[in-house]
């Protein structure tokens, strides 16, 4: 199989892998799975599975939580495995290549998500205004194809065709401060998500609970699940007390009309 055919096949597989996000975030985009798929395309399933597992363990912390975004595991997993098989250089080589391409594609993915997806979002708003749910539905899928699936496929196909060293050089061309800066920005990014949530629910009479949650984590380091449990108990107690106050007030208001007493 020549390199061009392999590049095209890898691109096709990469276009399909983001179906992860159409199937309930089913994790088929994890290197453990994509390694096997890449191995299948490259004609060496066994090596593909082993490389995939090795890259998986290296990337195990790379998951999306809230608005924070990890290096791209799809580009990293597929290209790392593909280069390891095509060069026969083994697992260490797969991982050292997986990280730069994953970091490089994260930059591209961020740019696409910032610049291209809002076009579909805006269209979607227009269709919502018109009450046109049929076209609104399409925007969800078009956004997926245009931003998540196709560009990744083109990137992976091209990167494989050009070869690993070119990719590493390309990443090295980007100055350190840009990469650091993107990471600094990624650290701040979740703040926007929380501010958007606050905008939806923050009112004066409940603002104190935000402070409480913040202090519980900052001073006592209670994990989020723990804070949820405390919050649930507090909510129960407050609602219970308020119900009792309401009841006693109703009784006072109703006075002599209250048949129960």
């Amino acid at each position: 199989m020549n390199i061009l055919t392999q590049a095209v096949l890898l691109a096709v597989v990469t276009a399909i892998i983001p179906v992860d996000w159409l199937t309930g975030t089913s994790n088929i985009s994890r290197p453990l799975v994509t390694g096997a798929l890449t191995g299948l395309v490259m004609g060496d399933l066994k090596t593909g599975i082993i490389m995939g597992a090795t890259i998986e363990l290296a990337f195990i912390g790379a998951i999306t939580i809230g608005a924070s975004r990890p290096p791209d595991v799809i580009a990293g997993g597929v290209l790392g495995t593909a280069f390891a098989i095509s060069t026969g250089k083994g697992a260490g080589f797969a991982i050292t290549l997986a990280f730069p391409v994953a970091a490089l594609y994260l930059i591209i993915d961020n740019l696409l998500t910032i610049l291209v997806l809002p076009i579909f979002l805006k269209k979607g708003d227009e269709y919502a205004e018109q009450g046109d749910s049929r076209h609104l539905n399409r925007m969800n899928i078009y956004g997926f194809i245009t931003v998540k699936s196709l560009p990744r496929a083109i990137f992976v196909g091209l990167a494989f065709y050009l070869g690993g060293p070119v990719m590493t050089n390309l990443l090295n061309l980007i100055p350190d401060f840009v990469q650091n800066g993107i990471n600094v920005a990624a650290g701040i990014m979740p703040a926007l998500g929380f501010a958007l949530l606050l905008q939806m629910i923050l009112k004066k009479n409940v603002a104190i609970y935000f402070v409480l949650g913040f202090a519980l984590y900052s001073y006592l380091k209670i994990p989020i699940l723990g804070i949820s449990i405390f919050a649930f108990c507090l909510m129960y107690i407050i609602l219970h007390l308020e119900t009792r106050i309401d009841h006693s007030q109703t009784k006072i208001n109703q006075g002599g009309n209250d048949n129960e007493f």
Binding site: L22, S68, Q130, G213, F214, S228
Partner: protein, 275 residues
């Protein structure tokens, strides 16, 4: 009640529709409103049924284009509850405050994500990965297959039952005689829960690290530890509140987003902040 027959009701098959569509929750994830388009996609079939009139339908569609972000396997709980609320709104438009729908969404997504992320991402996926890689490292195709099964079977079961239970919970609460009072309480309680979790997440998930040290030698103190000495996680808190203030001033999300990127790169260039 005679109007009972005219009521528009959500059936089991409508819930199935929500279930299948909810699988695309992260298809068009965006920085501005995150999973919103998929959320409205999940709800649209039901909304079409509940609101044959264009004006009401448009209102409902716009409602579900609002910001949404939730751990995917638990997201359907919110969908179920809001489906019941939409049903109530369609049947009794005069006594129902549609704004409460987005209040409930906003309040539930934080706590559910806290639970969902730590269970599904932090526990189940790690378990599945451990099992999967132990086979895969030997080259067995069972590795990836077991990995997918161990993760997805529980996730799909939770997704379906979360939806059904969420709908039942919403519907039973709203059918209660004092439904409006109860709903108000629910909305209030949910915002207590939501705000505490958002407070905690603001501290734990926003990271800003100041580079550089103050003083020299062994006495040197990092700027970062000094700032945290005043109030732990002071900078993340300041960031969240500042962005909240910008949103109140009607600054667009895209402008804020671009601002964060430019700010990050500038601060890294000047060596003030580090990742």
């Amino acid at each position: 009640m005679s109007s009972e027959e005219a009521n528009k009701a959500i059936t089991r098959s409508d819930l199935k529709g929500i279930f299948w569509r909810s699988l695309t929750l992260e298809a068009s994830w965006n920085f501005e409103r995150q999973q919103n388009m998929a959320y409205s996609y999940s709800m649209n079939k039901v909304l079409n049924k509940l609101y044959p009139e264009k004006k009401q339908r448009s209102e409902a569609l716009k409602r579900h284009m609002a910001f949404f972000n939730c751990s995917p396997p638990l997201s359907t709980i919110v969908m179920g509850i809001t489906a019941a609320m939409e049903e109530e709104n369609a049947n009794h438009p005069d006594d129902f405050d549609p704004e409460s729908i987005n209040n409930v969404k906003a309040a539930l997504m934080g706590p559910l994500s806290g639970i969902g992320d730590s269970f599904f991402w932090g526990t189940l996926r790690i378990l599945a990965t451990g099992l999967g890689t132990s086979f895969a490292l030997k080259g067995s195709v069972l590795g990836p297959i077991l990995f997918l099964l161990v993760y997805n079977i529980p996730a799909l079961i939770v997704r379906w039952f979360g939806l059904v239970k969420g709908y039942d919970l919403g519907a039973s609460m709203l059918k209660n005689a004092q439904s409006t009072g109860l709903l108000k309480k629910f909305s209030y309680g949910a915002s207590i829960l939501g705000l505490m979790v958002i407070g905690g997440m603001s501290a734990s998930m926003v990271t800003i690290t100041v580079a550089g040290k103050l003083g020299q030698g062994n006495d040197a103190q990092t700027w970062n530890s000094m700032i945290n000495g005043i109030l732990p996680n002071l900078l993340p808190l300041a960031c969240v509140l500042f962005i909240y203030w910008l949103l109140k001033k009607k600054v667009s999300t895209i402008a804020i987003l671009t601002g964060i990127f430019v700010f990050g790169i500038l601060m890294a260039y000047l060596g003030i902040l580090k990742p």
